[in-house]
């Protein structure tokens, strides 16, 4: 080759963003059987069961937030305990 680039010279910035967003999303969707967060209802139930062994908490006391990224995904779990205390835990994978 003669130092010639076939890369489109000015690929619109937004198209690059689109590609990156899709790559992140699809990597996660293909990873599991279909979509990754399918285990979340079960995870939520298990967390709740574990806590209930020790403290009385409401069914919707567990709040799970997720943020997916290309290298790191994080799961943030907020548990509302009676008496105004909140346990917060973050896990990354």
């Amino acid at each position: 080759m003669f130092g010639f680039s076939f890369k489109p010279r000015n690929k619109g910035k937004s198209a690059q963003t689109a590609k990156e967003r899709l790559q992140i999303l699809l990597a996660h969707e293909r990873g599991g059987n279909g979509s990754s967060p399918d285990y979340l209802p079960m995870l939520q139930r298990d967390i709740l069961e574990a806590i209930k062994k020790h403290v009385h908490v409401e069914r919707d006391a567990v709040d799970i937030r997720m943020e997916r990224d290309d290298e790191l995904s994080s799961l943030e779990i907020n548990i509302e305990l009676p008496g105004g205390r909140t346990v917060q835990s973050s896990a990354s994978s």
């Binding site: 619109g12 937004s14 198209a15 963003t17 689109a18 967003r21 992140i24 999303l25 969707e29 059987n33 279909g34 979509s35 967060p37 399918d38 979340l40 209802p41 939520q44 069914r59 919707d60 709040d63 799970i64 937030r65 997720m66 943020e67 997916r68 990224d69």
Partner: protein, 272 residues
Amino acid sequence: MSKVIVVTSGKGGVGKTTSAAAISAGLAQQGHKTVVIDFDVGLRNLDMIMGCERRVVFDFINVIQGDAKLKQALIKDRRLDTLSILPTSQTRDKDALTSEGVEKVLEELREEFDYIVCDSPAGIERGAQLAMYYADEAVVVTNPEVSSVRDSDRVLGLLNSKTKRAEESGADPIKSHLLLTRYDAKRIGEGEMMNVEDVLEILAIPLLGVIPESTAVLRASNVGLPVVLDDKSRAGKAYEEAVARLTGEQIEMRIESEERPGLFQRLFGRTA
């Protein structure tokens, strides 16, 4: 009083999701507490158009099936604090939607939101029918093209017969609005496509707005921004005006006519 608005069309790919995203963001921008729901089970796309696809944990189907509480599935928009998104499932199909489940979720949302915007799937089957069933108003998205207009007519028939408001005696019928999208002034000027008057004459419902064919729509979807928030674009402006009309404002309809051919075109004539 909260309002349930369905964005529907019959024909696929005419701009329902683009419009549902823009309308909900536009309503939220005006300060109304708004939620937008993806009814296209199995083909989740609204989350991408809204730019919150990385934050989906639970979805509409999880809520209907009792696996999650509504507040756990609602995603708060990071740009507009009056806007929330209820994504749908990517793995399930339309059979996961039940009439009772949809009704229950909508009732719960009515307590918290002023506007509930439902992004319907294409077609006239179960998914589309459930998306429109509980609606108070409908935005019928139509392109100036024969199959789209015909399908819109079919959908208007369903809105007037197969919905709660149609079945309940004494209830006002669903208020339907026409949103003409992908309006290509150049091709219309050349007589290749029907114009606003043509479509209005056939469908005979009030016009909510005319959204031009615009590259800003693709750009907005690339980055996950409802196009109405791109206020420099013509499509964004057109959506903003449509939203204002939806909330009862009287705004003059400015439909762009064909741009005059530029010098280059005049010199070299039109190609193709």
